[in-house]
């Protein structure tokens, strides 16, 4: 039938050399010839009636052999894989084919191999979390700023005041570039309005006053056409307000929200800051853990997986270009002065990183036994819908565990659970958690006993 040689190549691929005996080929050629006789019109014969010799003579021996080779490959490839004890990741590719004697050289990408290493002892100290007095003070300061008290004054405007402009008009070389009404401007030289110098020019104006002045736009102005040009402003002040920071007292607390005292406000702020920092710290913590896990793991995968990941990234990039910039991909490439091959090359490191991470996390998930049931998926979808404020949850009755939404959600739940486990591991609590699960399995709770009885 066939002789097989297996060679493991460098890039996690196998090279199968499959030599097929002449006898088998001859048989296959006769079959192929019959098939070809049915397919092709051979003058002098009805379809399918031409004998082997005639087919070989009209089509050529090589063609018949080729045809036979194809069917033989289909027939023997799975057997060869089994015999070579290889788990392919994807279809192999025929690298070399000689017809006489019939030898196939097939390059087969192998299933990725993931060795997590000594992940069980992966530990990382979480950063300590606290809200410092400075953070609280700056948050309070921010609140005060946002709750400035505005008092109408009749005096000319000073720095630090806020003015309302009933007319703001700017012309560059006779062309009107700004024309606006009811513009509110805080006179602050640090955080200046439009361009440097504008604020200074407005200082000293009183309510009802109109002023014309001209400024030179800087060379690094956003609009290239206007760089270095003079701009003529016509400004009409309607009202001048003095800004006063509210006092840091119970009154502020009650304006900001329903807080009785300043202390209540401080407590609330402290809690919110802590929440925010906890969220961020958890993210950072998990990212660091994932990095540790990846660093300690050994992954071997065939190059085709990397190509596939690049394909995915490229598709995402294309979609985002078309959606965000409303631009055809080809135009975008031209604009960037790149070819698709270059873009692929640039994406390669990112693709490799993403794939390694995905493979390693996937392996970790199966190692620690992350499973998600359909019920959990359904629950997650219900939560999402409720969060989105959907009242009518009837559509959940016809929940399809195979739908795209369900699969998407399942994916997310799996990731979430995996990361949860990873966090437990990092904190050194995974074993405890597993023990609890174990004991639950061993000793079913009262509810379960009852359920089983029913």
């Amino acid at each position: 039938m066939f002789e097989l040689q297996t060679e493991i190549l460098e890039h996690h691929e196998a090279l199968l050399t499959l030599e097929i005996t002449e006898e088998t080929i001859q048989k296959a050629m006769r079959k192929a010839a019959r098939r070809m006789a049915r397919q092709f019109n051979i003058p002098g014969f009805r379809k399918g009636k031409a004998p082997y010799n005639v087919v070989v003579r009209t089509a050529g021996e090589e063609t018949v052999r080729q045809e036979a080779a194809e069917t033989l490959l289909e027939q023997f490839y799975p057997q060869a894989l089994k015999q070579a004890e290889i788990e392919p990741y994807d279809q192999g590719e025929v690298e070399d084919l000689s017809l006489d004697p019939l030898v196939f050289k097939i390059r087969v990408p192998l299933q990725p191999l993931i060795d997590l290493g000594d992940y069980r002892n992966l530990r990382r100290e979480p950063e300590p979390l606290e809200v410092t007095d400075e953070e609280l003070a700056s948050a309070l300061e921010d609140l005060r700023r946002r709750n400035m008290v505005l008092d109408v004054v009749t005096r000319p405007a000073r720095l630090g005041d806020q003015v309302t402009l009933s007319l703001l008009k700017g012309t560059v070389a006779g062309e009107v570039v700004i024309h606006d009404h009811n513009v509110e401007v805080v006179l602050d030289t640090e955080d200046f309005f439009i361009i440097q110098g504008f604020v200074e020019a407005v200082v000293g104006m009183s309510a009802g006053e109109e002023r014309l002045f001209s400024l030179t736009l800087p060379d690094d102005f956003g609009e290239e056409n206007f760089q270095g040009e003079d701009i003529e402003f016509t400004v009409n002040v309607e009202e001048v307000y003095q800004l006063t920071l509210p006092g840091l007292d119970d009154a502020l607390a009650s304006t900001v929200g329903s807080f009785g005292t300043l202390e209540d406000l401080k407590d609330d702020l402290r809690r919110r800051i802590l929440d925010y920092k906890t969220g961020k710290a958890t993210d950072n913590y998990l990212m660091a853990l994932v990095a540790d896990l990846v660093a300690g793991a050994e992954v071997r995968y065939p190059p085709i997986m990397e190509e596939e990941e690049i394909d995915t990234l490229l598709e995402e990039a294309k979609a985002s270009v078309e959606r965000r910039h409303d631009m055809e991909w080809e135009d975008y490439l031209r604009l960037q002065g790149k070819t698709e091959a270059q873009v692929r090359k640039e994406l390669r490191p990112e693709a490799a990183r993403r794939m390694r991470e995905g493979l390693i996390l996937g392996e970790f998930a199966s190692e620690v036994g992350v499973t998600v049931t359909d019920a959990e998926v359904k629950e997650e979808i219900r939560n999402l819908l409720e969060e989105a404020g959907v009242q009518n949850l009837k559509s959940l009755d016809s929940f399809d565990p195979q739908s795209a939404l369900a699969n998407d959600t399942r994916q997310r739940v799996v990731i979430q659970k995996t990361l949860d486990k990873l966090e437990l591991l990092g904190r050194g609590q995974l074993e405890e958690a597993e023990d609890i699960v174990q004991s639950e399995v061993e000793a079913p709770s009262e509810d379960e006993k009852q359920a089983a009885a029913e």
């Binding site: 009805r46 009636k49 005639v54």
Partner: protein, 95 residues
Amino acid sequence: MDIYTVIVRPLVTEKTEEQKEEGKYSFKVHSRANKNEIKRAVEGIYDVDVTAVNVMNVPAKINRKRGRRPIVRHPAWKKAIVTLVPGQRIEALEA
């Protein structure tokens, strides 16, 4: 007549393939060729011994169909069925 003028081409059809088993080979031959000429031509070209030659004139046929050439005329030709001494074969025509 030259022997290569007498034999135009061998015929390869379902029927002739079957007749080869009985040592009978069919050819399209020159319309003016006679049995003796055909016998000599086959013996000369294929180096075999001929025991009998049957000839027939295949009449012209007209195919009618739609298209660029609605009427196609296939001219008349002469067919010869040559029987060899039992056991002999023409290797060159065995495909």
